[in-house]
């Protein structure tokens, strides 16, 4: 009977020795004259962002002379390839921006989970209203949305430092010249009236000025926002889970189940509104990239551009004219033509944080990397970031950049309805089908009837393709998560926290798998739907 105890003693001793060696191995680096070097890779390539990172890193180094952080900015277009090369080559930077196709597999393989760290207070918030508050709870979304939290793996992998909000930038000088005043439109009627004024004014000039500079990306954003406000009542009608959220999966399944149609009374006003707004963009806007639209506005050849807070530095700095900002006014529930399916204006209460940064699993200095993220997302530094880069801060209580009231999130209002721009649904076949035909609605000779005649015949086929892809992806996730679940239960579940994590994972996995079966059941039982 004594043998196991002797073995335990030997084991314990060697464990302690091993732990000591690990600590001793790291200790010299902490005190070494040579600084610890961390690399931070991101794709925020605006000058202000680059400058801010340089400044923040310099300030951080004053607090931690041993830590040197080297920022690496990578152009967004090559970012996914660059990131994959780094990950597979085991040369990932210590701190890396998430987003842009960051998959579950990448997160599990290459990132350090931050959930436990987020439960502890952020020491850099000492002396502020957030002192003692768990780091995760200092974010406006409680760190539960966006790129930071992976709902399938049930782990936090990143922290953000800004929110993205859609905003309209307008040429104040032009507005003054056309209308004699510089007051942004207060509602949709005034917005459309101003567009008409610009159009009429431009027709009398040799060099035309369009009311709104458009591109495929900018117009998509505008159309999606208009649609999700117009479909609030439809979303409640098809809300399968009664949770006031209409996911793309639910919306697509409910179409196959015959619960709504493209010419539904709840959708006709959407098409009509998109048709109305599109006549104020420049011709051929669907073929243009966002840079083209931005250039048109910067040249003073467009009165407005519907973009977002992410472009603030580009439009507000170095323009040859005064630029103003306002919140896009969409038809509210009282609008005589477009209001009947609206519950209320869209809220930005739950705007999703962006620009998340995570810590690579391969980092030799994860503690220092996490500490820098704590610093970067502290109340004061987040306010500094917002002011310097003209961004919307993400930390609770942090003020938006001074002088930019329009950057404050709209806290009033209601949840979005459904969208038919299924950006996250399967292979995005139905989105491509919609965009391939949208010209029949928003083009110069577009009509609602003509558009629906083009869209309807093959809509079900593309929707099915998307849902089949959803099911295939879901199946692969289920297969992999099965293995993770067992591994957690048999290996890691020696602590209560690990057991909780295993239970949480099972819960999430069961729900996801059931959603997958709902898709398969719908596909199978609606084969005769249009």
């Amino acid at each position: 009977m004594k043998t196991p105890y002797i073995a335990s003693l030997i084991l314990g001793g060697i464990f302690l020795f091993a732990a000591g060696r690990v600590l001793l191995r790291q200790a010299p680096a902490m005190t070494d004259a040579a600084p610890i070097e961390l690399r931070l890779a991101h794709y925020l390539v605006y000058d202000s962002n680059r400058e801010f990172y340089d400044l923040a890193i310099a300030e951080y180094r004053k607090l931690h002379p041993d830590v040197n952080i080297v920022p690496i900015d990578v152009p967004p277009r090559i970012w996914p390839v660059w990131r994959q090369t780094r990950f597979t080559g085991d040369t990932a930077p210590d701190i890396i921006q998430l987003g842009r196709g960051f998959t579950d597999e990448m997160a599990a393989l290459y990132l350090t989970p931050l959930s436990e760290e987020l439960e502890r207070p952020n020491p850099y918030n000492a002396g502020t209203a957030l002192e003692g508050v768990a780091w995760g709870e200092t974010f406006v979304d409680d760190s539960l949305t966006g790129e930071n939290f992976n709902p399938r793996l049930l782990e936090h992998y990143g922290v953000s430092n800004y929110l993205n909000l859609r905003r309209v930038y307008f040429n104040v000088d032009l507005m003054r010249e056309i209308t004699g005043k510089a007051t942004p439109p207060r509602d949709y009627a005034e917005f459309i009236a101003y567009c008409r004024e610009v159009k009429a004014w431009s027709e009398k000039r040799r060099s035309p000025v369009v009311p709104i500079a458009g591109s495929i990306e900018y117009s998509r954003g505008l159309f999606v926002e208009a649609m999700t406000q117009q479909t609030q009542r439809l979303a409640r009608r098809i809300d399968l889970e009664h949770d006031l959220v209409s996911s793309e999966r639910e919306t697509a399944m409910s179409w196959l189940r015959g619960e709504w149609a493209l010419d539904d009374e709840a959708l006709l006003p959407v098409w009509e509104q998109l048709h109305e707004m599109a006549q104020f963009f420049q011709p051929g806007f669907l073929q243009l990239a966002r840079e083209d639209a931005g250039f048109l506005f910067k040249q003073g050849r467009a009165a407005m551009i519907v973009s977002g807070t992410w472009d603030a530095n580009y439009f507000l700095v170095d323009s040859d004219f005064e630029v103003g900002v306002f919140v896009l006014p969409l038809p509210d529930e009282h609008h005589p033509r477009y209001g009947r399916n609206v519950v209320g204006v869209l809220t930005e209460r739950a705007a999703v944080p962006s620009g998340a940064l995570g810590v690579a699993r391969s980092s030799k200095h994860p503690a220092e990397a996490i500490d820098f993220l704590r610093y970067l997302t502290s109340l004061r530094v987040n306010e500094w970031f917002a002011e310097y880069c003209l961004r919307v801060p993400v930390i609770e209580g942090a003020a938006p950049p001074p002088g930019f009231k329009a950057f404050a999130p709209m806290m009033e209002g209601y949840e979005p309805g459904a969208t038919l721009w299924f950006e996250g649904l399967g292979s995005r076949s139905s989105q491509r089908h919609l965009e391939a035909n949208i010209d029949y609605l928003v083009g110069p000779n577009g009509t609602v009837d003509g558009f629906l005649q083009r869209l309807s015949p093959h809509y079900g086929r593309y929707l099915r393709q998307d849902l089949q892809r959803v099911a295939a992806t879901g199946l692969r996730t289920a297969q992999r998560m099965d293995a993770v679940d067992v591994a957690l239960r048999l290996h890691a579940a020696t602590t209560p926290e690990a057991r909780r994590r295993a239970t949480r994972l099972t819960e999430a996995q069961v729900i996801q798998e059931a959603e997958n079966y709902q898709v398969l059941h719908t596909l199978s039982t609606t084969q005769k739907s249009p």
């Binding site: 091993a18 732990a19 399968l240 993770v484 999430a508 798998e513």
Partner: protein
């Protein structure tokens, strides 16, 4: 030299250690991992386990530890290529980990799936009574349900029912129960009406253990919603999921809203009020707040008892 097979948790599987010591070792393992001790730390950990294991009379299960860590980190290839030292065989936990790695290691082939199934069948045949045997039986069901080129769900259901009958309270059996309920609710090869599906899934309720109750009731509640069955029945499942404790905060919020919405539609205004209030207490920045507040105002003046909270 196969490892002992009746012990439960890794990394101490194979070592007859008292629970307190095993917990301690778990913490030390965790500390080492947290400290980033991939190199020397791990070597010493393994060396320690080796020495201790040999002295304890049972060899340690180092390869299983590494394989399970690999699975947790999606490194399926590392688990799939696990090999026993020359002249030795893989322990039962290591064999299970290897099979799970093979099932997920790309490129996925029928022969790899069949080989994995062979490993699992051997684990069952050698000793189906231990926990590893239970997991092997469960995954044999999963292979025919979700890994086979042509899923054979009805066969999987048989596997799950048999596992559930053998050791209903074990973790693998509870996982099997959840998949059985799922198949009852949605499997298209079952030519059942929605009511039959719901009844079959609900009949499993008495066998659900506390750890799996939230997942089970969420699954069944949402299944009933999908089939547009009686709202009061749905509400009761979602309520029981809430009582059991939903661990995912996002799902928890969605469930509170659904409980409020269903209760409001049923005219159970007291219950609706309770869940709306609870949602608003925890969801500071949720886009649904205004709708929930509106609905709360709607039900407050007409508080009417439902079945209770």
């Amino acid at each position: 030299m196969p490892c002992g097979s009746t012990l439960t948790r890794l990394p101490t599987a194979g070592l007859a250690l008292p629970a307190r010591v095993a917990r301690g070792l778990g913490w030390i393992t965790w500390l080492l991992r947290a400290a980033g001790g991939h190199g020397l730390g791990w070597m010493l950990l393994y060396a320690g386990a080796m020495v201790g294991g040999v002295r304890a009379g049972t060899p340690p299960d180092v390869s299983a530890v590494a394989a399970f860590v690999a699975l947790e980190e999606f490194r399926f290839g590392d688990a799939a290529t696990l090999r026993a030292p020359a002249g030795d065989t893989l322990s039962r936990p290591a064999s299970l980990a290897k099979a799970l790695g093979m099932l997920n290691n790309p490129p996925k082939t029928d022969s790899a799936v069949e080989e994995a199934a062979g490993i699992l069948r051997k684990l069952v045949a050698d000793d189906a009574g231990d926990e590893i045997g239970g997991w092997a039986r469960y995954h044999l069901g999963r292979i025919v349900q979700i890994h086979a080129g042509t899923p054979r769900s009805l066969e999987a259901m048989e596997d799950y029912r048999s596992l559930l009958a053998a050791s209903p309270a074990s973790e693998p059996a509870q996982q099997a129960l959840l998949r059985l309920a799922m198949l009852y609710l949605y499997e298209v090869k079952l030519d059942w009406q929605p009511e039959q599906r719901a009844a079959a899934a609900e009949a499993l309720s008495p066998q659900v253990t506390d750890d799996f109750a939230a997942a089970y009731h969420l699954l069944v509640g949402r299944g009933l919603l999908y089939h547009r069955l009686d709202s009061a029945r749905v509400w009761e499942h979602l309520r029981r999921a809430d009582v059991a404790g939903i661990m995912n905060p996002v799902t928890n919020r969605a469930n509170l809203v659904a409980l409020g919405e269903l209760a409001r539609a049923l005219g159970w205004t007291t219950e609706a009020e309770n869940y709306y209030v609870r949602f608003l207490e925890i969801a500071r920045r949720d886009a649904r707040s205004a709708s929930v507040r509106d609905h709360l105002e709607e039900v407050r003046p007409t508080a009417q008892e439902g079945p209770g909270l």
